[in-house]
Amino acid sequence: MNNSKFNRFLILAALLALGLIVAACATPAAPATEGEQAEAPAEAAPAEAASDRCGDPSQLSDQLNFFNWADYIDEDILTQFEEECGVKVVMDNYTTNEELIAKIQAGNSGYDLVIPTDYAVSIMADQGLLAELDMDAIPNAANLDDKTMGMYYDPENKYSLPYQWSTTGLAYNATSFPDGGPDSWAAVFEPEQVCQFKGFVSMLDDPRETIGKALMYLGYDINESSPEAQEEAKNLLLAQKECIAGYNSENYIQNLVNEEVVMAESWAFAAALARAENENIFYVIPKEGGTIWQDNMAVPADAPHAYTAHVFINYLLDPEIGAQLTEWTFGFTPNKAAQELLSDDYHTLMEDGGMLPDEETFQRLHWIERGPGTEIFNDTWTAVKAQ
């Protein structure tokens, strides 16, 4: 009897759950997946509404599949584009370049627009995963600052146009440094200095960034891959390890805000986001140097809606949209026209917080390059994390 009662209970619970799911499914249609959306007549196509920011409306698809870094665009921009041009932007997120590459490499991913970081552009272009951009469809490319173009990973900007750029340096909480903030990586690498803040310092969970900083502190190039230099860097990291909170590139922004850490190897945009919530947070590129990096817009070779992707790239390079984008990401815009439209709040935050690099600081910023021999960084990293 107990058991039949028990079974009835199960069936009932299951039925209720099923009802719930039916209700969930019945709610307004989700964006189409699986390419199930048919060649719908262009009833949604904005015949009159189409502004001049929409390219040739007759060539636009109904949907654009956008594969972007997590939390890297103001979603209002997507809505605006949909209202203005009648294209539904379906956005999915990744959190590392490697996830992006793996997905695109597998082929037929369905994505039309992706945002690879510098080195990932050259990897993807070398593997034939990116389509050449049709610059005629992107007149707004003229807004881009020449200084952000023609980088080592895509010298002629054949496959990519810059999206946002930023730097990697040191973020700190000024209340812990009454005599002025750190100006050298010694603050995190010299045990007697870092151990003053035992358990309150974090480094990025990224072999190239963190080993790179150790190399720079030791006087090497950030891309140095000789076994001797790597060994030295490893020992430096091991000496520091006991006194740091850990390696964190996921949520150290929160840690900075909540003062769980008082010093962190950090991206400039992340430090700015933290500063927006806690004004004690400052940022510095230490005297030994820091990293510069740039994320880029690119179209996969097998993108189903390549033309629409071009139009959307052009839309993102619009001065107003570009400014809106950067106000959200707290990165730096490669868009000269957008630069002028950025709000005073943004400028104040970036300048007072030390995020904005001046000409002199610029000389100390280096690109991380992937090439033959740089595999050794991963072995060094494994060794650091094994102990």
Partner: protein, 289 residues
């Protein structure tokens, strides 16, 4: 009759087998193949035979405490897995027993109460733990407001074990519940009638009969725990790796798919040896009974 039996058997087996073979056995063969190929910068593999991955995995490193750093990571992962399994068993066994001794309605409610926290999101739960264990977290704030010293808990192995146990506990309780619920308490009464004490009854009757649940639960907890890689990052500060982190690194930033595959092959082989041994023992038990 024999023919009918065969028909029933194939009908029962077919859907499961179809799924397992197509979506697990076939891709696993792919992984074995990958492990013998050449790495490609930027991920994927170059289709040229190579033993590099295995050579790397078993190479001798004089700096390391054991053969090399990979072995250190394997051993740490297994140790944490065992510890977690043991704690889960110690908590989960009496808990499952407690649940099965309730009335049918209460039983079901309790069972659901145990699983419902896990219908929130894994990351959200782990972050909630971080909030509790932080330097300025819940426990420390309470401690310091009571005038005690703060205890550093976050970014330590202690926090990692808490996270691992938390994530694995229902995987111990549910199989144990399944085993205990089917338990025939007549055996216990019979033993008691014969004058056996509670401890003896437990040792001689109860424990052996619930062993399948213990084994299944322990297996699930152990396996799921050693595959973890988010908990050591969020609660352990990412300071030391488990196998999962090592694998994620190979398929991620290191762009070394063959090496990642080789680690996976060795790992799966090690686990399979354990499981085949278990199946053997089971088969022998069945044969003798």
């Amino acid at each position: 009759m024999e023919k009918r039996r065969k028909l029933v058997l194939s009908a029962l087996l077919l859907p499961g087998a179809l799924w397992i073979v197509l979506l697990y056995v076939a891709p696993s063969i792919l992984i074995v193949i990958y492990s013998f190929l050449t790495r490609q910068m930027g991920g994927g593999v170059i289709w040229a035979f190579s033993l590099d991955a295995y050579q790397k995995l078993f190479s001798y490193n004089p700096d390391s405490r054991f053969i090399n750093d990979f072995v250190v990571i394997f051993l740490r992962t297994f140790w944490w897995g065992l510890l977690t399994t043991f704690i889960c068993l110690a908590v989960g066994y009496p808990l499952a027993f407690f649940i099965t001794r309730q009335k049918a309605g209460t039983r079901a409610v309790l069972l659901f109460l145990i699983i419902i926290p896990f219908w929130t999101n894994f990351l959200v739960r782990t972050y909630a733990w971080k909030f509790i264990l932080n330097n300025n977290g819940l426990i420390n704030v309470i401690l310091s407001s009571l005038g005690f010293r703060r205890i550093p808990m976050i970014n330590t192995p202690f926090a990692v074990i808490i996270g691992l146990v938390y994530g694995a506990l229902p995987f111990m309780v549910l199989p144990l519940y399944a085993a205990l619920d089917n338990f025939n308490y007549r055996y216990v009464e019979a033993a008691q009638d014969l004058g056996a004490s509670y401890l003896t009854v437990f040792r001689k009757v109860f424990w052996p009969l619930t062993l399948p649940g213990v084994v299944t639960g322990s297996l699930l907890v152990f396996i799921l725990t050693i595959g973890q890689f988010v908990v050591p990052v969020i609660l352990g500060g990412g300071k030391v790796s488990m196998i999962g982190n090592l694998l994620a690194q190979q398929f991620g930033m290191a762009f070394d798919w063959p090496f990642g595959s080789a680690i996976a092959v060795v790992f799966i082989l090690l686990m399979m040896i354990g499981i085949v041994y278990y199946i053997r023992v089971e088969a022998r038990k069945e044969a003798s009974s």
